[in-house]
């Protein structure tokens, strides 16, 4: 296992096609209890990657490392060919180009919906207040929530909150969207509206990395499935082969339980 952790420092990553990649990515929160034990992964522009696996296997940690919300213990992460695990990288600029959607939405409760969406782009001077507002309203119209622009998050349903959270990330014009179990905290009847929006995004060609337990979504939308367990990518492949003909015993066992 530990051998997987050896980093391949000199390997160059092609920036044109590959948008995010990891080499020997390791993370442990407590000593001697690694959560990630050496993950090598390339995510291509326009690709939809769905990450599945048992709880505690490291999926979320993997995703949260991609925008350095968690600092890896070892290994490298590249974004557009730039090593963002290197010292002195301006992570704020990197994160501004990677959208993230959380399980618990994490909308700002003291801002209106509109301000939730426009705050970051205006604050970071990526858009003028007028541009940001226009863009926000366009996006809200697209998800059918324009009448909620001046509402506060507490006045929204879970599904609406998550759609707003997705819009908030999209307003930054991200190059890749990271989804951390976006439907796990939702009431069942609200899962559909969020997944529909994510499918739309996928059809529009957004690069997406999605950690989820929604196997139907994975099968339908994913270009590639990553099965992460015990901190490594145990198996990966296109959904047809992955679901139709899983190779590893552990994968077969997992799929027999969830399908």
């Amino acid at each position: 296992m530990i051998d997987n952790a050896v980093t391949q420092t000199n390997e160059t990553v092609n920036a044109g096609d590959i948008i995010v990649s990891t080499r020997g990515l390791c993370k442990s929160f407590v000593k001697d209890k690694p959560v990630l034990q050496g993950i090598d992964c390339d995510i291509r522009r326009g690709e939809q990657v769905v990450v599945i696996g048992p709880s505690g296997g490291g999926k979320s940690t993997f995703l949260r490392c991609l925008n350095m919300l968690e600092t890896p213990s070892a290994g490298q992460i590249f974004f557009n060919g730039e090593e963002i695990t290197a010292k002195g990288v301006n992570l704020d600029q990197v994160r501004a180009r990677m959208g993230m959607v959380f399980q618990h939405f994490n909308l700002f409760p003291h801002f209106t919906v509109l301000k939730n969406i426009t705050f970051a782009p205006v604050q970071l001077k990526l858009q003028t207040p007028e541009e940001a507002e226009k863009k926000a309203m366009d996006l809200l119209r697209r998800v059918g929530l324009e009448e909620k622009a001046n509402a506060y998050p507490s006045q929204l349903s879970g599904g609406q909150k998550q759609r707003i959270a997705i819009v908030r990330a999209l307003a930054m014009d991200p190059e890749v969207m990271l989804f951390d179990e976006p439907t796990s905290a939702l009431d069942p009847e609200m899962v559909g509206e969020v997944l529909d929006l994510m499918k739309q995004l996928a059809e529009d060609g957004m690069t997406m990395v999605v950690v989820t337990h929604e196997m139907g979504f994975a099968r339908e939308v994913a270009d590639r499935i990553l099965f992460i367990d015990q901190g490594i990518i145990l198996e990966e492949g296109a959904p047809e082969t992955f679901f139709g003909n899983p190779q590893m015993a552990r994968t077969q066992e997992f799929l027999s339980k969830v399908l």
Binding site: L69, R95, M100, N106, H110, F119, A120
Partner: protein
């Protein structure tokens, strides 16, 4: 009947004669100015310290500042407020003649050390997901703290800050030590003229009590309203 007569006479002596009620009003004004000024200063200092300590804990940065904050809280919480007041008045600001200002500074600096702990608890009570969401949008640590976390933290601790205001209102009565004409000091001065301690002291005690009761009422109301909006 004799008691009633005493009350009327004492009231006249204490408040009416030589327009002494004006002195009491000035004293009450000074008490309120010092309390309000010290609370505002305390909240500013407390918020600053809480932010520094939180950022230090989260990221290990700001080592020196964090050390200064630790030193500050240790000294302030480890010495009596009257001693701090005397040091401020006779050593630090010995050349200043504005004793109300010195009082605001002394009580504000004192209060800051206590408010810092309140604010820290308030910041900790804000879901870490708020910070993560802010950072994931590319906002810096400072902007996330200032615009996302702190407003929610302050809302959390608003009732506690109200209580701090109430206890400061009472604490400032020791500022008479410095000859500042707060309400307590005015009562003492009047007594030195009328030689009747009972009426003025009971009277100002009732004024303090009345103010505290009113403020308490508003803090309770605030608590209720905040609890409702969280639901």
């Amino acid at each position: 009947m004799a008691f009633w007569n005493y009350l009327c006479k004492a009231f006249e002596k204490t408040f009416i004669r030589e327009d002494r009620y004006l002195d009491f009003l000035t004293g009450l004004g000074n008490t309120l100015i010092i309390t309000l000024g010290a609370t505002i200063l305390g909240v500013l200092i407390g918020a600053l310290i809480a932010v520094i300590k939180t950022i230090h804990k989260q990221s290990g940065k700001l080592k020196v500042l964090n050390w200064i904050c630790e030193l500050y809280t240790t000294i302030i919480r480890g010495t009596p407020v009257v001693v701090q007041l005397l040091i401020m008045y006779f050593i630090v600001f010995a050349s200043s003649t504005n004793s109300v200002m010195v009082g605001i500074l002394a009580f504000g600096i004192n209060s800051g050390a206590y408010v810092a702990e309140l604010m820290r608890a308030g910041i900790n009570a804000v879901d870490i997901g708020q910070t993560e969401a802010g950072r994931s949008l590319g906002l810096s640590r400072g902007v996330t703290m200032r615009s996302i976390v702190l407003p929610q933290a302050i809302k959390n601790v608003l009732p506690a800050i109200g209580n701090e205001f109430i206890s400061l209102l009472k604490e400032t009565s020791v500022i008479g030590f410095l000859g500042v004409m707060d309400m307590t000091r005015v009562a003492q001065r009047v007594i030195s003229r009328t030689a009747d301690p009972y009426f003025p002291y009971i009277a100002i005690a009732l004024v303090y009590l009345g103010m505290v009761c009113i403020l308490n009422y508003f803090v309770k109301k605030l608590e209720k309203r905040l609890a409702k909006s969280d639901r």
